[in-house]
Amino acid sequence: MTAPVFAVVGHPNKGKSSIVATLSQNDAIAIALEPGTTRKRQEYPLTVDGKTLYTLVDTPGFQRPRRVLAWLEAHSISASDRAETVQAFVIQHRDDGSFTDECELLAPLTEGAGIIYVVDGSVPYSAQHEAEMTILRWTGRPSLALINSIGDDDYSDSWLRALGQFFQVVRKFDAVRAPFEQHISLLRAFGQLEPAWEQPLEQAAAFLLAQRRQRRTEAAALIARTLEDMMSFREKRTLTTLQTSEISDTDLAGQLRTSWYRNQRKREQHLRIAIEKLYEHHRVERQEAELEWHSEHDLFSEDSRKAWGVNRRYLATAGFGAGAVSGAGVDVLALGHSLGAGALVGGLIGAAGSYFYGDRLALPVLNTGVLTNGLRTATFGPVQDSQFGYVVLGRAINHWWHISHRNHAGRELLDLAPAHNHWLEHLDRASRQTIHRALERCRKQRALDDKTRLALASAIEQAMDAYDKWRLNRT
């Protein structure tokens, strides 16, 4: 059985390419508010292991629909020959250059494609579209109309009424803003156009949903790895005796600090690009405050803390959990004779430490080693403030959220404005403790084992869920 093909057709400049870009997750399709941006039809097949489940065909817009309709009417005798007449039109004109765009868009329909007719619901309905809708009806192919919204105004009601007369199904679909669930729902609607198309479209929807779940897991693993790297990063320099005598500790700390900041920023940028690639966004322009210590977006500034940091109570509870786990080790060693006192004491110490020190600014400090063989090693970092981890985590999840909810038709600048609430407080206790423990381990330069890494990634995935819910409740 051949896979269904859907030709996305319509008037020029109504967002056909945007629809295709979003559904095929391709941000490299030329989209411009200019008629004639799409000059040739282009196929976008969705394949699973090389087997095509369906194909979307982006087409140029109608240029001379009344002339085409006049030709068709002049060459048809009855309603039964209409589809054949359209085919004859394409054969007749495909090489003569007078109806290039029409031939490009009608050819897939004559080859058996379904019709996805796109209109812009943000501009008023106009009867001039009736000629092209009539031509499409002449093809006899299963059809669905999509009301896209390019501008802010809404004329969709008048469009709904008009399109209902020509098309089997009419749906609203904002190519730039429609959430992923709507993409899936739209694909399922495509499958309803013909019985034989239902199964491949259902399969495609299932694969796309699985891919989205997997991407979320992979994004969490990427964030976990970056968090580990950034929390444990140390800037190291080896100096000779001469170099040691030539540079003061203050200057050395300054140089290492600059380099440390640069590397941390670079690492964060790598994460941004990796997440964008994961979601097939290759051309995102970002507007985000860089990790600057001494700018208005200073990580340790009050503003950054308010945006991404967590409060003392949060730190105390997470610290209690982390301390209790360590203290439980004492109970195990005492074969339970300590009656859980170890866990309690450990928890209290952890909570107190986090409560009293979690809110203090603790920059990484310069450490210089002893002179050995005429060489001295100076290190800067790792960061001593676990809030840094929460700021990095918050920024990363905020970026992930924007990317995962960004449609591939979107071409606007990605504005990563900081959130203004402690979203992490929506996270369950176990995940909080896992994150806190991992941050503390990194801060103390204790390497994470694979099990802890998996647990951290899993906790971050929970944090993504919490953030998602928080955003949903906020809007």
Binding site: N26, E43, V48, Q63
Partner: protein, 469 residues
Amino acid sequence: MPDSGIRQLLEFDSQVKRDSDQSPAFLHRRDRRFALDCRDRGLSPTPQRWLEHVRRLRPPLPADDPLRPWRRLTTGFALAGLITGVIAMLGLLFYDGGQRINLTVILAFVMLHCLLAVITTVQAFAGWQPWRWLLRKLKGTGTASALRPLQPMLMARAAHTGGLVFGLAGLATLLVLVVVQDLAFGWSTTLDTGPDRYYQLLATVAAPWQSLWPAAFPDRELVEATRFFRSNSGGTANPALWGRWWPFVAMVWTTYVIIPRLVLLALATIHPGIRARRELARHPGMIALQYRMETPALDTGNRHNDAADQPDINTSGQLHPLPAGQVLIRWAGAGEPELPDTLAAGYHLILAAGGNAALAHDNEIIETAGKTLAEARSPAVAVITRSWEPPTGELADFLQLARKSWPATTVIALVPLAAQPDQPPPDHQVNQWLRFAERTGDSRIIVSTPDMISPESRIHRALQDEYRE
């Protein structure tokens, strides 16, 4: 190859690290393809096959054995064992002709060694690393993170190798000393014990070889005859009896130093391999690989890239004042239901074309307008359009046809109207009309966006001279 499991784990770990910078989509395609190929050939996609597949397609990497530091460490332990084995045996068998060599001391030393061997194995199984400081000094032994969980086992292997060489060196030293010296063994203890009880102890110790080598099994008379007390340095027994203990000592050494070490070394050789296979199975990269191999590779059709192939949206076209014309044509329903008064005033003819009207109707409109324009001294037509609708081929055809019918000096002013006619259209919409006028290559086709609010705009509307000439 005893370390094949470890090498496989390390190679896998290293490949996973190399893959970490690859795009997930690529990795999925690569591994799914491998799994499908395996299925087609009726093979199971094992990690070994996967590594072979990856290895086959890349140029050979410089041979850098990650286990070399461990081999060096093991050799170091063996050398240390050799030296300390000789020294320990020389120390145990030190005999200055005065005191006897005390069998009790030898037995205690052997048991201590045996205990240490067991502790080494226990720590390997428990994963304790009390000697981690030593590894930190020996760079390279723990650099690969995948090797970290195997360190206790590899360390136990090195320790058992050292222990085995220690035992063998000790035995060799004993045999050499037996040949070149007359060793006088005896037994002595402060404890209140008689020869009978001491004999029972030795018989129990010697039970494993009782039938194998009876000469090495102690007899009661020998035990009775070879007890000595330090205060009584001369002894009472026949001096030849003192030397009869050496087979027993050799067998104690062999059975309780060499054989346990041999067995535990064999175990320590197998154990890291087994553990490595377990580590490989639960390696995070393996879980991800299994997922990629099991899950169909989805391609949403995002390979096509024409992002750079954008139309040129620059224009040198300029807006012009609306000329005082004779005919106004509403194109494709523009200005419906009612034209703004400021725009409609002053025209001789107001016509409609395009949209859902028939093509024949458009031709009639061109003809009607042509008659009016022919009578005018400065013929000009305003074509009102919807600013948001892009100019299509139909309008281009209409203007081309009109141009042929109308007087050659006719100025055609395209007036794009916004959805709210009293508001000026946005720039990006006006620009598409400017580009359209530019594309026609006709200098008498201009674009105007008159001010619809001010009543003066109609009064001051004037045709500029350059269009008249």
